[in-house]
Subunit: 498 residues, 2 copies
């Protein structure tokens, strides 16, 4: 079977080569491309996407995968896993008819334009019909994909393989009860000050400081680079070329700092994937939730901890004396962790964040099962924001129109954001148990032991385990909300004197 | 035939999309890619190149081209031209067997490594065997391609369609006689000073000045960008995305300045190609010689003229006062045009440059026809440098090993460099006749009338005309060396008081 397996590897790498070329076309579009280049660039991306589609649904690949699958006992464990996962993906892709794919493209393209128009008009009414089509086609998609239990399972599975509504219901019930309860208590406490984060922080100094931060958490600049873009993102073309972007607001030090650590966390994961499995499932990340666990762990569990800033805060004060000379470490720490109900998900603190996700989860599930309708969804939205966060939504742009995801047809995506934080908390508490003197090492400015642990526990395995398997393997149990809740209570209880 | 023609356009654009994606992968590799990304990037480029090869030699495309060719009378003139040129290229590609292409790849890959090794050892002996293989396979290639007259015609035709040895012989005879004679006279004159060009010119200021220069000659930064690379180059992904690079040496103002104008000239051509013919011959440049005519025209005929610097020199002095405050415009002009026999082609002035090309032309032709052998070629090389330029070649790195072209298997390429200058001189003298007050307009800092003329005469036609047809259309006669000689005599006669 070795020759067939080698053929399979070559074919998968060919697909990866084209796919990552699309990645570069997109990176360049966001980061370097001159404005007039946009039209032809989109065509180039579309052509390469078509080639990827042809290659990854070809009968030749299908036959190869079937042969290898039938003979998988003669393969090594890792080889067999690659074949099983590739075949699974292949069969999934084959479920879609060309007509459905084309129809879906049209629906999504229209939804995106309608969303832009609705944003311009600040009016959900403009987006409503397009969203109805998105919901309709997403329901169709659940039938095409097939599911057990709730139809929403089919959609979530696209982003977080194996995750199911009954698990999510359990998690979000805890969010709705325990976290809403805790959030309400925090809201009643005396607020901490973070006004110093909005003083003037010079652009060049922020840029250099961000690069230093990345280096310090272990990001390899020989296998990556940072650039500026409108929205920070990370992207990879192989584990030796993993790039991040950031943005700099001279009156918002938090924006650059924690988005840099966040994207750095994503990038550390990708840089840690095994290059020898380039193009294969085992060279790939597990799921969006696990990816987000890596970014959140670095951003929040590490990057918003007192221990992380203790060894470097004096340096930060020296770089930005005007803004920070009167602010001591404790005040800096509290300020960066200020909890405040915010209407915008992407600007939210790490507690309120999950209410945003909870609301989207409830709405998406309702739309897919039919218990919620697109009409009046804005009213449902606003009601939930009032209930869970105690805020009034003044208009649709700050409410139901704020996120791009639905206009892309990405229903089932949002829950992975919260899963990321929950996995992060559970992993991090395990790391604290397993890594000797983790706190001390971080307080001495050394996060390498943590990175080594993550490399060993998460990164090097690629997609060998599912998210659930990995979680059990690392922590001895499936995802459990209590770890996040413990973390939140300890940290914010301390900050807010609860 | 419209439907078939549209199919053809779609197929050609698909090929272009992949080809220009390769271009972006290469640009990124030279300009942005982190070092460790190199290995997989080469694989990605190779995969996409394979896809381009498959698409551009497919039977489906061949059938389409034949059908369209047979019915070309029902197409518009431009459509018919596209079909004829595409078919020609297709049939040419089909002449190569897969075995030959693979063998050639191996020979070239080996030659490149041997050239690197020979450069390291500064010893032509190390490269000799590899070069012998290159010559051998190039001779085979002439047979595969077919030719009338001299076999070297088949190789030149790859880069400069329609150009033939009998024309080149005529041109280079003039170089060998008239230009060598004139060069000898110039060498006997009192040398002009250019030491001020090697004073300190701050990097950031050079960078900004280069960007200004590009803007001033009409380069559109909304359809392009400039970056830093080891060797300056220009590259395009469509006429709305044409990029240039430069390099900056703080002790060599000339390096950045004229390479920027040179690459800018290439880029102006590409930005001027008709976007509506994207992917088709009529959306493409004519030949290397015509491309080089555009870069040389801007670099030399414009960029090294007194008129060009008259309106801007005061500004240059203000930007670099330490280096230039004591240097008046006349001295600056003379310094930038200093003629000096130089062993290195790429560092050569615009007169000696053609001796470098002449020598390579004589050697390549000799190798292909069999009148020269690879053994002792270094001695032939050194002898010719003595004869035409009066210089002794101290070692192989400064002699026969200096250029990468042969190691790439690119025999037939070098003559296009000289053709570029000769076309430039002939075109420019026509421009001076046709554009009212061209000199005055340039002396007032306005090169737009010149660019408009080039757009009209050269750029907008894409590949509709061959180089020879274009030259006749613009100037009323085929390429004639006298225009370059007149230009050289007038300019350097004046500078050197001849």
């Amino acid at each position: 079977m070795i020759t067939k397996y080698e053929q399979y590897v070559a074919e998968m790498q060919k697909i990866a080569d084209v796919n990552y070329s699309i990645g570069l076309l997109q990176w360049d579009k966001e980061v370097k491309m001159p404005t007039k280049g946009a039209a032809i660039r989109s065509q180039q991306i579309s052509t390469l996407s078509g080639i990827v589609h042809e290659l990854s649904t070809s009968d030749a690949l299908g036959d190869l995968l079937e042969t290898l699958f039938e003979n998988k006992d003669s393969l090594s464990e890792k080889q067999a896993k690659n074949v099983v996962l590739s075949r699974e993906k292949f069969l999934k892709k084959k479920k879609y008819t060309i007509e459905f794919v084309k129809h879906r493209s049209r629906v999504v393209a229209n939804a995106y334009h309608q969303w832009i128009a609705a944003r311009k008009a600040n009016d959900y009414g403009v987006f409503k019909e397009a969203l109805r089509e998105i919901v309709k086609i997403s329901r169709e998609e659940t039938k095409i994909l097939g599911y057990e239990g709730h139809p929403y399972n089919a959609l979530v599975d696209q982003y977080e393989k194996g995750m199911k509504v009954n698990v999510l219901d359990e998690l979000f019930k805890d969010v709705r009860q325990q976290l809403v309860d805790f959030g309400t208590k925090v809201r009643e406490c005396e607020q901490v000050d973070n006004s110093f984060l909005h003083k003037f922080y010079e652009k060049d100094k922020q840029w250099k400081f961000g690069l230093e931060l990345l280096k310090e958490i272990g990001y390899d600049f020989e296998a990556g680079r940072q650039d500026i873009s409108t929205h920070p993102f990370s992207i990879n073309f192989n584990s030796n070329d993993v790039r991040v972007t950031t943005r700099i607001d001279e009156n918002d030090f938090a924006n650059m700092t924690w988005s840099t650590i966040h994207e750095g966390g994503h990038a550390l994961y990708e840089q840690g994937l095994p290059l020898e499995s380039y193009g294969l499932p085992l060279g790939t990340n597990i799921s969006l939730g696990i990816h987000e666990s890596q970014s959140r762990l670095w951003e929040n569990n590490v990057g918003r901890s007192l221990s992380f800033w203790k060894p470097r805060y004096e340096n930060v004060q020296n770089i930005f004396p005007e803004a920070l000379k009167e602010v001591d470490l404790d005040a800096f720490y509290k300020g960066m962790n200020r909890v405040e109900a915010n209407l915008i998900r992407t600007e939210s603190d790490e507690l309120n964040y999950h209410f945003h996700v909870l609301i989207r989860y409830e709405i998406e599930k309702g739309l897919i099962e039919g218990s919620l309708e697109v009409d009046d969804l804005d009213k449902v939205w606003n009601q939930k924001y009032k209930e869970y966060m105690g805020v009034d939504v003044p208009d649709d742009n700050q409410g139901i129109l704020q996120d791009i995801h639905w206009s892309h047809g990405s229903l089932g995506y949002f829950p992975t954001y919260s899963l990321g934080s929950f996995y992060a908390a559970q992993f991090y508490q395990q790391a604290e148990k397993e890594i000797e003197n983790l706190k001390e090492s971080i307080e001495s400015g050394d996060t390498q032991p943590l990175l080594d642990w993550l490399r060993d526990k998460v990164h090097r395995h690629g997609r060998f385990y599912t998210a659930e398997e990995l979680c059990i393997k690392i922590t001895g149990e499936p995802l459990n909300f209590k770890y996040f809740m413990n973390y939140a209570k300890a940290k914010y209880g301390d900050i807010y004197g609860l």
